[in-house]
């Protein structure tokens, strides 16, 4: 029996965002969290000149990586291989999961301990492993909480930021055997930690993401606060790292400025508790560390962004989340409403390459173009310009379309309205006539003006236009 699935990304996004703005508890959670994170970041960047200098350096490093991307990836592969780390290339999410599954099966793995990795969310790693009968479980506290709740991360840095401590307390009491309800945050963290620590010892494979992959040395850098990243990459016998191809940097000296920008922009920390540099598997005579280390380099649409002169800047992102922390829309609707792995402004500009613009175009319009994201982006991605470009693409006719899914948001009615608008405002005679009629008919202007008057009083045209008043005054 076949089933027809109705799929309208615009209506879907509208429905999800409507639900989100009408949830006062969740809105309060996000507002409080965003205020906190904004203040933390502000505290790190008191010196505006230092910030401007560091951002310029960060942007230049990332632009250098992207300008030399093919050769840097080859150099990375060469140096990782020389270090004994096995490199795999995945064009799609399915390819990446198949490679990981192949490794897991070869070593007879029954389970995989996961450090926090948004790329693993992007490729649907946990589901792919579950389908193959392998238990991939989260070890990051936030990821563990959303996994326990059967949800997805609502933020790229703080996956469970949409939850209150009361909700987490209830969740733990319900889902973890023998745990009594407590709202004491330290106690909750202790409980989670106890559960998770027990799991590392029995893990067959550890999975992690990568923050920076250094080409000249063949080093994988991993930034984290909880120590679970270190456990995942050192305790199990096999470590698999997954990352997007854009995460490469040319030189080791490129890491400190990016690391500093990342932690200060993300959580307002000068430095994280852990910073892991992984350069080889366990050597002869060493007592710990994985016997095998693998890196899966994933494209999953990134090449499309890289090939476009303007959209390439999307790949400068170091995944700090500052854009969402400062976004007035994200603060009101939260991460889940976006419906993509990466929410907020960065999600709106990166997701079209992974999922097709046809699936994600409403997100490009879900912005007031206020530019708060551009102002705080540590690597100076021109997010608003890219959003405008994606709006153009979403409504492009066939001859102008250049992305997968371009033109999906085109509507005959909207096109006709804007053509009419353009005609009025580009032909002086028509504008004079139209605006004159609107002024003369100001008393007839409608009290109900659609979406505008749902929460506002109606706009009233003035009885005389400025040009009339100036003419009267000067005649």
């Amino acid at each position: 029996m076949s089933q027809i699935i109705h799929f309208d990304p615009d209506q879907d996004f509208k429905a999800r965002s409507r639900t989100a703005v009408n949830d006062p508890a969740q809105r309060a959670n996000f507002r409080g969290a965003m205020d906190f994170l904004q203040a933390k970041r502000r505290g790190q960047f008191g010196d505006q000149d230092e910030l401007a200098g560091l951002r310029a350096i960060g942007a230049a490093i990332r632009q250098n990586s992207l300008a030399k991307l093919p050769e840097l990836l080859e150099l990375l592969e060469k140096n990782l291989t020389a270090n004994g780390i096995q490199v795999h290339w995945a064009e799609t999410a399915a390819d990446a999961n198949a490679i990981a599954l192949g490794i897991a099966r070869r070593v007879g793995a029954r389970n995989i301990a996961k450090g926090k990795s948004m790329v693993s969310e992007e490729i649907g790693f946990n589901h792919a492993m579950a389908d193959a009968g392998i238990d991939a479980f989260e070890t990051d506290m936030g990821e563990y909480i959303v996994e326990l709740a059967g949800e997805k991360p609502s933020h790229i840095i703080m996956p469970a930021i949409h939850k209150t401590k009361q909700q987490i307390a209830a969740l733990f009491a319900e889902k973890i055997p023998g745990v009594a309800y407590t709202e004491d945050v330290d106690a909750l963290i202790r409980i989670g930690r106890q559960v998770l620590r027990g799991k590392f010892a029995g893990a067959d494979v550890g999975l992690s993401g990568v923050n920076f992959a250094v080409a000249e040395t063949g080093t994988l850098c991993l930034v984290e606060n909880e120590g679970n990243g270190r456990m995942c990459t050192t305790v199990p016998d096999v470590h698999i790292a997954v990352t997007g191809i854009e995460k490469v940097v040319e030189k080791l000296e490129h890491v400190p400025p990016l690391y500093s920008l990342l932690t200060r922009s993300a959580t307002g920390q000068s430095i994280t508790t852990y910073f892991n540099m992984i350069s080889r598997p366990r050597q002869e005579g060493e007592k710990d560390g994985p016997r095998e280390v693998h890196l899966i380099l994933i494209d999953n649409g990134r090449s499309q962004a890289h090939a476009d002169e303007q959209l390439r800047a999307t790949l400068q992102c170091i995944r700090c989340g500052a854009c969402m922390n400062h976004c007035p829309v994200y603060a009101r609707i939260g991460g889940h409403a976006y419906g993509t792995t990466y929410p907020g402004p960065i999600g709106a500009i990166v997701s079209p390459h992974m999922l097709g613009l046809n699936a994600t175009y409403p997100l490009a319009f879900a912005s007031t173009l206020c530019g708060a994201c551009v102002e705080v982006c540590p690597v100076k991605i021109p997010i608003t310009d890219i959003l405008i470009r994606l709006r153009n693409e979403a409504q492009a006719g066939e001859e102008q379309a250049s992305l997968r899914g371009s033109g999906a948001g085109r509507s005959a009615l909207a096109t006709a309205i804007w053509k009419g608008w353009s005609l009025i405002y580009s032909r002086l005679g028509i504008y004079r006539l139209t605006s004159w009629f609107i002024s003369r008919g100001h008393k007839l202007s409608p009290v109900s003006q659609g979406a505008w008057t749902k929460c506002r009083t109606a706009l009233k045209p003035a009885p005389k236009r400025l040009r009339d008043l100036i003419r009267e005054r000067r005649s």
Binding site: K14, S17, V21, N22, R27, A52, P328, V329, R332, I333, A364, F365, A366, S367, T368, L369, C370, G371, A372, V374, E375, P382, T384, D385, I388, L390, R391, N392, E393, A394, Q395, T415, W421, S422, I424, Y425, S426, R427, L428, Y431, S435, I438, G450, A451, W452, K454, C455, R456, T457, L459, K460, P461, A462, R465, L466, R467, D468, L469, I470, R473
Partner: protein
């Protein structure tokens, strides 16, 4: 988007002539703000030229993903300013469109790009012009009052004119400027955003109105009509629903506010 570049801008000496580009919203909905801009400039001894061919800067289409339609409208404006005089725009948003985005809009045509770039260099938002070119200082003839300043996001982040708006208000001795929470956050207007996603827009503007009300300000002053219509329209709707007659959070364009206070007209 460049706060950094906005601060570094070089300003010309005070000119004898300027163009006034009043914006479509002011022409049709808020002409008094245009007249008061004219008053402020003429009082400084400047001849103000109002090209009658002006319509709209094209931003609505540009931001909505219709670049061809935006270009057609922007092209109509490009031909209006044949003399090398500064172009004064009483809106940070429209000024940013002409100053920052016209060169991007015409990037693919060398001849038009040259004209757009030349024009962009002499487009000034009203308050930056009053502060940096005129060195505005007029005695405050109004009675004591409390206001809050809202700066549009394009004015703030593309023109840097939140600083010049604040500087102008600080020259008025009897005006107490109160600062609302999250002053730098968007009001939720975003042009067609308010129509496309009305629930999200409502959530943002309602928070903005609440933060302004919490200051106790008698009115909100802004250099952008779009934000003003959004904020005061929301506040007026709340008044209406509560059965309150005179608006409890009225708004005024900064040009009108400055002109009335310094010429002795009661607000």
């Amino acid at each position: 988007m460049g706060q950094e570049s906005a601060r570094d801008r070089a300003y010309p000496p005070k000119p004898g002539d300027v163009y006034l580009y009043s914006t479509c919203l002011i022409d049709q909905f808020s002409p008094e703000a245009g007249l008061d801009t004219l008053n402020l400039l003429e009082r400084e001894g400047i001849r103000v030229h109002f090209p009658d061919g002006q319509t709209c800067c094209g931003q609505p289409a540009y931001n909505s993903g219709y670049p061809d339609e935006a270009r057609a409208v922007a092209l109509q404006q490009l031909s209006l300013f044949s003399q090398p005089w500064p172009v004064i725009v009483p809106s940070g948003s429209c000024a940013a469109m002409m100053h920052h985005h016209y060169p991007k809009l015409f990037a693919s045509d060398q001849a038009l790009l040259a004209r757009a770039t030349e024009l962009a260099a002499r487009v000034f938002e009203l308050t930056e012009f009053l502060v940096h070119v005129i060195n505005f200082k007029q005695p405050d003839r109004g009675s004591a009052c409390t206001v809050a300043l809202h700066t549009s996001c394009h004015a703030r982040r593309e023109m840097g004119s939140h600083e010049t708006s604040a500087a102008l208000l600080s020259t008025l001795d009897n005006v107490d400027v109160v600062v609302q929470d999250r002053i730098e956050e968007c009001c939720g207007f975003g042009g067609t955003f308010a129509i496309r996603y009305p629930e999200i827009s409502e959530a943002i503007v309602s928070d903005k109105v609440a933060s302004l009300r919490a200051t106790g300000a008698e009115r909100v002053v802004s250099a952008d009509c779009g934000c003003l219509f959004n904020i005061t329209g929301r506040a007026a709707k709340q008044d209406e629903l509560a059965g309150i007659a005179p608006p409890t959070l009225p708004g005024e364009h900064i040009a009108s506010f400055l002109w009335k206070r310094t010429s002795g007209i009661p607000s």
